[in-house]
């Protein structure tokens, strides 16, 4: 196993997995607490449509992924804010529409393009040095903004109206969160793929949710679980020659079910039921 670590591609993959795992799991805390789980799913499919259009037209795929991702979250946020439509309905419509566009763009390519499918299913073992730099730069940007606005983000996740009433610019912070979700999805496309990135946002935060009642601890647990499962998933992928995306996500899911079983919250509830 140590031999593998000597390879450049393996070092790049592990670094990319650690960054993406950490980033997804930290933003996942706010996504889970604010009830934006479906937004993550919709954005990843929208970003994939952007990638497909990029390859079809010969334009930079990541740039178009960002445009599609941002357009989706901003439209969704705007529609919710106006009270025109429930968030899950608007994101459901955009989710399926952008997926249809993605399939259409692939169909229009006429020839099979393995790179596009790499964005759909994830291929962390083929991350290039340039892609690693992009992932690194965007991760620093997103994590920096999350840290800078952490207290406001926690507050709007708790109660947006109360936050606004207390003097927090809640509306702007909500749109910042949506923007950071879209950027995180785009950063993670190459590593875990459009279909599975949503799991990386949701599962580590949901696992941590089982283990603690504190916001600070929740974030730290989620980041640790996200980084460890991503790095371990890549190692499993390389050792057993299985696709990296599913390896990471299935490992994270296993940890999630163990945490549900061992959850102090669940054990306390069981104790209360038995003592009554």
């Amino acid at each position: 196993m140590l031999d593998l670590l000597a390879y450049d591609f393996m070092q790049r993959s592990l670094l990319a997995a650690a960054m993406v795992g950490g980033l997804c799991s930290v933003i996942g805390v706010f996504v889970v607490l604010r009830g934006l789980a479906f937004v993550g799913a919709g954005t990843s499919h929208a970003a994939f449509a952007g990638v497909a259009l990029g390859y079809l037209m010969g334009w930079p795929p990541l740039l178009l992924a960002i445009v599609f991702g941002l357009a989706t979250v901003w439209i969704t946020g705007w529609v919710e804010e106006r009270g025109r439509m429930k968030l899950d309905v608007s994101i459901g419509i955009l989710y399926t529409t952008t997926m249809a566009l993605g399939i259409l763009f692939i169909g229009l390519m006429k020839t099979y393009n393995a790179e596009v499918y790499g964005y759909l299913f994830g291929s962390v073992l083929s991350v290039t040095p340039e892609e690693l730099h992009t992932i690194g730069a965007l991760s620093v940007l997103v994590l920096g903004l999350l840290l800078l606005f952490a207290k406001e983000l926690y507050f709007i996740a708790f109660d947006q109206e109360m936050a606004e009433a207390s003097g927090v610019p809640a509306r702007q912070i909500f749109f910042l969160l949506l923007t950071l979700v879209a950027l995180t999805v785009v950063i993670s496309l190459k590593t875990v793929g459009a279909i599975l990135v949503f799991a990386m946002i949701l599962i580590p935060a949901s696992t941590a949710y089982q283990l603690t009642h504190s916001l600070t601890a929740l974030t730290l647990y989620s980041a640790t679980i996200g980084i460890l499962t991503s790095v371990s998933g890549v190692m499993i992928s390389a050792l057993w020659d299985v696709p990296s995306g599913p390896a990471i996500v299935l490992l994270a899911t296993t940890v999630f079910f163990i945490s549900v079983f061992l959850s102090p919250k669940r054990l306390r509830r069981l104790h209360l039921v038995h003592s009554n």
């Binding site: 607490l33 800078l148 606005f149 207290k151 406001e152 926690y154 507050f155 996740a157 708790f158 109660d159 109206e161 109360m162 936050a163 606004e164 009433a165 207390s166 003097g167 927090v168 610019p169 949710y209 603690t212 009642h213 504190s214 916001l215 600070t216 929740l218």
Partner: protein, 263 residues
């Protein structure tokens, strides 16, 4: 009769809602610093709308609303931080993974402004707010593990951590048992007396507050009365709003037909 004091909140022929769906119409009302005001009225009468307006979340579609001598759409974050708010029960997810102290610390965030981390001073203010509501021994407990009454106390502490001038409580006793309801109202009265806060208390429980408030504001889309309780709780005024004949019987307010039914 004109009041020599300057109002802290002033509605001037203000209407709220959307064209075609007016929640509050033509409200003219001044609330003065240090007043304890009870806001009553039937369901859908616009009580929560009034509350959201005073929070600066809902500008009037007609007329004017001034809070701290600012038009409400000019209200800046540091003004809003001066208004502590306890929302209706059920609005906030009570199982949110947060400790009592973390919840109260959120009250400091608006006053701190962007880019600033809460420091020792904010921590001390939050702890002091917990002492004021008698919940300091629960500071490290999970919010979701507390009883309904304890959670209300924590939310009041969160509002106090803003070091507000005005405290708005939207039906703070709903869903609580009678003893806990009494304790929460006692706490609000105590905070009003001790901290000289201006309090706006929205409630359906007229009996619980009528001996405590300076004025009662009676709403049903329009403002029917804003006067001391004895002047508002008159059968002819209450009948206009509640559509039933209501009288003050001995100490309690009862619906006459129910009173006859039971006696």
């Amino acid at each position: 009769m004109s009041d020599p004091r300057e109002p802290i909140i002033r509605f001037d022929h203000a209407s709220f809602g959307f064209p075609g769906l007016i929640a509050l119409k033509d409200i003219s009302l001044a609330i003065y610093e240090g007043e304890f005001v009870g806001v009553i009225g039937p369901n859908g009468s616009g009580k929560t709308t009034l509350c959201r307006a005073v929070l600066g979340l809902l500008p009037p579609i007609e007329g004017h609303l001034r809070i701290f001598d600012c038009a409400c759409d000019e209200l800046r974050c540091h003004h809003r931080a001066k208004i502590g708010y306890l929302p209706q029960k059920g609005v906030v997810d009570r199982n949110f993974p947060v400790t009592v102290l973390e919840t109260v610390m959120m009250g400091r965030y608006g006053a701190l402004g962007l880019f600033k981390r809460p420091g020792r001073k904010d921590h001390d203010i939050a702890l002091e707010a917990l002492v004021q509501v008698g919940m300091e021994s629960h500071k490290d407990n999970a919010l979701g593990q507390l009883s309904g009454g304890q959670q209300q106390r924590v939310f009041i502490a969160r509002a106090l951590a803003q070091q507000p001038k005005v405290l708005i409580l939207d039906e703070p006793t709903t869903g609580l048992d009678i003893t806990t309801q009494h304790n929460v109202i006692e706490l609000v009265q105590h905070l009003h007396d001790e901290l000289k806060l201006t309090v706006l208390l929205i409630t359906h429980d007229i009996n619980m507050i009528r001996s405590r408030v300076d004025r009662l504001v009676l709403l049903k889309t329009r403002l029917f009365a804003a006067a001391p309780p004895a002047e508002v709780l008159k059968p002819e005024i209450l009948h206009q709003v509640y559509g039933k004949e209501l009288v003050i019987a001995e100490k309690d307010l009862v619906i006459v037909e129910d009173y006859h039914h039971h006696h």
